[in-house]
Structures are given as structure tokens and as C-alpha cells.
């Protein structure tokens, strides 16, 4: 196992250790409070390379906050986060080169075309041939013939495909997906499912926050369930069924209603 991990290409230079390659996400005691309200409480994570994680939980459980912290968009109030063996607090800019985030918002400029959006972001990531890479992804995602249309003219599904291309431009090692299926029609959902499976097959580490429990358990290897900001389940996805996950969420809600700690 260790030998296999040391053979992984170094993504942050020679200083990257075999342990960092094997465990790209390592968090300890992550907590986040906003205006004295606890959003996340004492989350420990150790996510091995190439793992597909489903992050589940009711609205307000802390899924999006956790993904924002893992993407370095937000800082935790307490706890430590190491990504690829490097402290996120110390070297966020360096780490961002290896993280892709797909959200329920497209994070695109609607007045620019799909091509212009992708070329803009590709330049910020320092990609050698921004236009070539953008067209390559648009072709893969079936949007080559709409490359020069403004994003505001796109359907939700098409815009989300451009957003996926934006997240994959720099070939991130860690892909975070926050409710990426929200508002998608059936064909777009199927396309995104297939894409996530392919990316996982290519060895990417994926963390998917999703409301559809059955779909998440089908796609992922590991399920992490959050309730009221705490991690209540962390196990193999095939050892869970949607009913058990739902029950854990309902128990957490009942505890909270009784004034207990979820």
C-alpha cells in the first residue's frame, strides 16, 4: 500500500510525502461558528486518495459549510485542516490549484459566453492553452456547438455542464460537489452521474454533498452523515441503506427538539 502511494505523481512538488498522497484530506476538530451559532462541531476526517465520499444530512446539517472549508473558501473557527499534507491555513493559494468545486450555483458570469468563462478561469489557473483546454472540455460535455453563446441563454442543465467544465479545467485531484444535481433534468442528472463515476475511475478523490440518499449511496464508497453540525455516521456506503441514514437524521432532529445535543 505504502509503495503504491509513493508512486503517485507528486502534485505539490518533491516535499509531498507518501502519507500526504495517501490521505489528501485530513481534518481534526473542525468547528465553525457564525454569530455564536455552531454550524460544525468537532469534525474529524481522514479521506484516502481516490475515495468517493457521500456527504449526507438534512438542511442545516453543515454539509455546505464543511465543503466550503475543505475548498479553502472559508476558514474554520477551530481545528486543523491539512490538504495534500499541507496546512490549509498556511498555504491556501497553493492548495487551490488542486481543488475543484461544483456547486448548486454555477459560479459563472452570465454575460460572458461559455468559452469566455472557461478561458478566463483557465488563465487564472495558469493553464498553457486556455482556449484549447476550454474547447476540449466543452466538446466532452456536448457543448462545443454552443461555446460562443452567453451563459444566460443556457438552460439550467447546460449551465451546470459549463460549471462542471470550470471545475475540471485544471484537472483537480480533489473534487468537491455541493448539491450538483439540484434543478437538473433526468438526462443532465444521468450525464453528471456518469461523469462523477468516470472521474472517480481516473483516481480523483470526490466528496459529494447530496440530498438524494439512495443516489449518493449508489455512487459513493463511503457515507458520512452530518446532523446538527456533528458527524454521526462514517462508514462504507454499501453497509447503509437510505432508511438507516434517514433514521439517524430524524434522531438528530428529535434530540435537538428535546434540547439535547445532536
Amino acid at each position: 500500500m505504502t509503495l503504491a502511494m509513493t508512486q503517485l505523481p507528486s502534485i505539490l512538488g518533491p516535499a509531498m510525502t507518501a502519507d500526504a498522497a495517501a490521505i489528501p484530506v485530513r481534518a481534526s476538530g473542525l468547528s465553525k461558528s457564525i454569530e455564536s451559532r455552531d454550524i460544525l462541531r468537532d469534525i474529524d476526517l481522514e479521506i484516502p486518495h481516490g475515495r468517493f465520499i457521500a456527504l449526507l444530512g438534512a438542511n442545516g446539517a453543515g454539509k455546505s459549510t464543511l465543503l466550503k472549508i475543505l475548498s479553502t473558501l472559508n476558514a474554520p473557527t477551530a481545528g486543523t485542516l491539512d490538504l495534500f499534507g499541507i496546512s490549509a491555513a498556511a498555504s491556501a493559494v497553493k492548495i487551490r490549484r488542486h481543488i475543484g468545486l461544483i456547486g448548486h450555483q454555477t459560479m459563472l458570469y452570465h454575460d460572458l459566453s461559455a468559452m469566455e468563462n472557461l478561458v478566463f478561469f483557465a488563465k487564472l489557473y495558469g493553464i498553457a492553452d486556455p482556449a484549447g483546454r476550454a474547447m476540449e472540455l466543452l466538446t466532452q460535455l456536448g457543448l462545443a456547438n454552443r461555446a460562443n453563446d452567453p451563459v444566460k441563454a443556457f438552460s439550467r442543465g447546460m449551465a451546470q455542464r459549463v460549471a462542471i467544465a470550470r471545475a475540471l479545467l485544471h484537472e483537480p485531484r480533489l473534487l468537491l460537489a455541493d448539491e450538483p444535481f439540484a434543478g437538473l433534468d433526468a438526462p443532465s442528472t444521468a450525464l453528471l452521474e456518469r461523469l462523477l463515476t468516470e472521474l472517480h475511475g481516473q483516481g480523483k478523490t470526490i466528496i459529494l454533498a447530496n440530498h438524494d440518499i439512495a443516489q449518493s449511496l449508489r455512487l459513493a464508497q463511503t457515507a458520512i452523515v452530518l446532523a446538527k453540525g456533528r458527524k454521526v455516521i462514517d462508514t462504507h456506503a454499501d453497509q447503509l441503506d437510505a432508511g438507516a441514514v434517514l433514521a439517524s437524521m430524524e434522531n438528530a432532529a428529535a434530540d435537538a427538539a428535546d434540547g439535547g445535543v445532536a
Partner: protein, 218 residues
């Protein structure tokens, strides 16, 4: 250094491309500036002495309101569909994002000033024959300081959900020393006015670059 300058250029070019496509800022801001000059100009009346003394201040009123609209508009594009988060995910220093926004704001303001300043000069019969380039330099240096503060607080306001006229309420008092130094420098060139303007720019540019990291929230 070259990479940083390239990133700043890419960021500014994106804002200007969006403005070129939507034309949502420049047209509105130029009309507002011309209106301010006209209304205040007519209010002062036709006394040449009053007009000459009041002209730099009236020009600044037009610059201030036009500038605030530019700052709000360029930052508003980042709030569409979470675009700011996409920007913050890029492996670039947040000071670079600040510099990119500052550059696009400054270009927009210079474009606005290029229209409304000649209108003001003609309207008030300002005599700039003694040092026309000096006048342009003073306005340019003053606008840099104004844009430095405006860009910083536009970022802060957009992150804190405080919108609308609040930006003007915060920025106008802060740029008061800059406006005073600028108008005095136009009315009576020389003295310490230029040094004050340069010092103001240096302080706010440096401070804004540093604190922008803390200001932006996705």
C-alpha cells in the same frame, strides 16, 4: 511579478468585457455626472467668480457619485450565481483580485471623467491654460486614491449584504481629505496638496491590498 500583472490584466479585462457587452454602467454614470454638473452649475448661477471657485468641487461631486456607481456595478457582477466563489477558488492571492477590480474601476472612472470633465470645464469656463497637464495629473492621482478606497469598501459591502447608498455613506467621509487636497491643488497649484494626495494613495493602496483578504466572503 509578470504572472501577477498578467492575472491583474485578466481580471480587469473580464470586467471591461462584461461592461462592453452589457453597457450597464458607463452610459448611466456619464449621464449622472453630466446631470450633476448641469444642475449644480445652474444652481450657482452665472457669476464667473463663484463658478470658477466652485467648479473643482462640483466636478468632485460628479466624480464621487459616478465612482460609487462604478464600484457597486463591478462588484455586483461577482454576486451573480456565486461567481465570486469561483474567483476565490482560483490559486491567486486575494490582493490580486483587489488589484484587478481596482484596475477596471479606474479605467471606467477615467472613461467617465474623460466625458464629464470637459463638460465641467466648458460649463464653468475653467482656465486650465497655465498647467493643463498638471490638472490632469492631480485628477488622476486623486481618482486612484478614491478608487482604492471605493473598491475595498464595495467588496466589504457586497460581502456583508449592506447594499445601495450605504457605500456612498461610508466612502465619502473617508475621501474627504483627498477631495479637499485635490480641489485646493486645482485652485492654487503648488504647496503640499500633491504630497498629501500621493501619501493618501500609497497608504490606502497598501492597506487595501492587505486587508482585502479579510473583506471578501463567498
Amino acid at each position: 511579478m509578470t504572472a501577477t500583472l498578467n492575472q491583474i490584466a485578466v481580471l480587469a479585462a473580464k470586467d471591461l468585457r462584461i461592461e462592453g457587452r452589457t453597457r450597464s454602467t458607463l452610459g448611466l454614470v456619464v449621464v449622472l455626472g453630466v446631470l450633476i454638473i448641469s444642475v449644480l452649475g445652474f444652481g450657482i448661477g452665472t457669476q464667473p467668480q463663484l463658478a470658477a471657485l466652485g467648479a473643482p468641487s462640483i466636478l468632485w461631486v460628479a466624480y464621487l457619485f459616478s465612482g460609487v456607481l462604478c464600484f457597486e456595478k463591478t462588484m455586483a457582477t461577482e454576486r451573480q450565481d456565486g461567481a465570486l466563489a469561483g474567483l476565490l477558488l482560483a490559486p491567486i492571492d486575494r490582493g490580486v483580485i483587489y488589484a484587478g477590480k481596482l484596475a477596471s474601476n479606474l479605467i471606467l472612472m477615467f472613461a467617465v471623467a474623460a466625458v464629464i470633465t470637459p463638460v465641467g470645464v466648458l460649463f464653468f469656463g475653467m482656465d486650465l491654460s497655465a498647467a493643463p497637464l498638471g490638472f490632469v495629473a492631480v485628477i488622476a492621482i486623486s481618482m486612484l486614491g478614491f478608487a482604492a478606497i471605493g473598491t475595498l469598501f464595495a467588496g466589504l459591502m457586497s460581502s456583508s449584504r449592506l447594499q445601495g447608498g450605504l457605500l456612498a455613506m461610508v466612502v465619502f467621509p473617508l475621501v474627504l481629505p483627498l477631495v479637499i487636497a485635490s480641489t485646493q491643488q486645482v485652485l492654487s497649484p503648488g504647496g503640499t496638496g500633491l504630497a498629501i494626495l500621493v501619501a493618501f494613495d500609497a497608504i490606502f493602496l497598501t492597506a487595501s491590498w492587505i486587508v482585502f483578504e479579510l473583506v471578501l466572503e463567498p
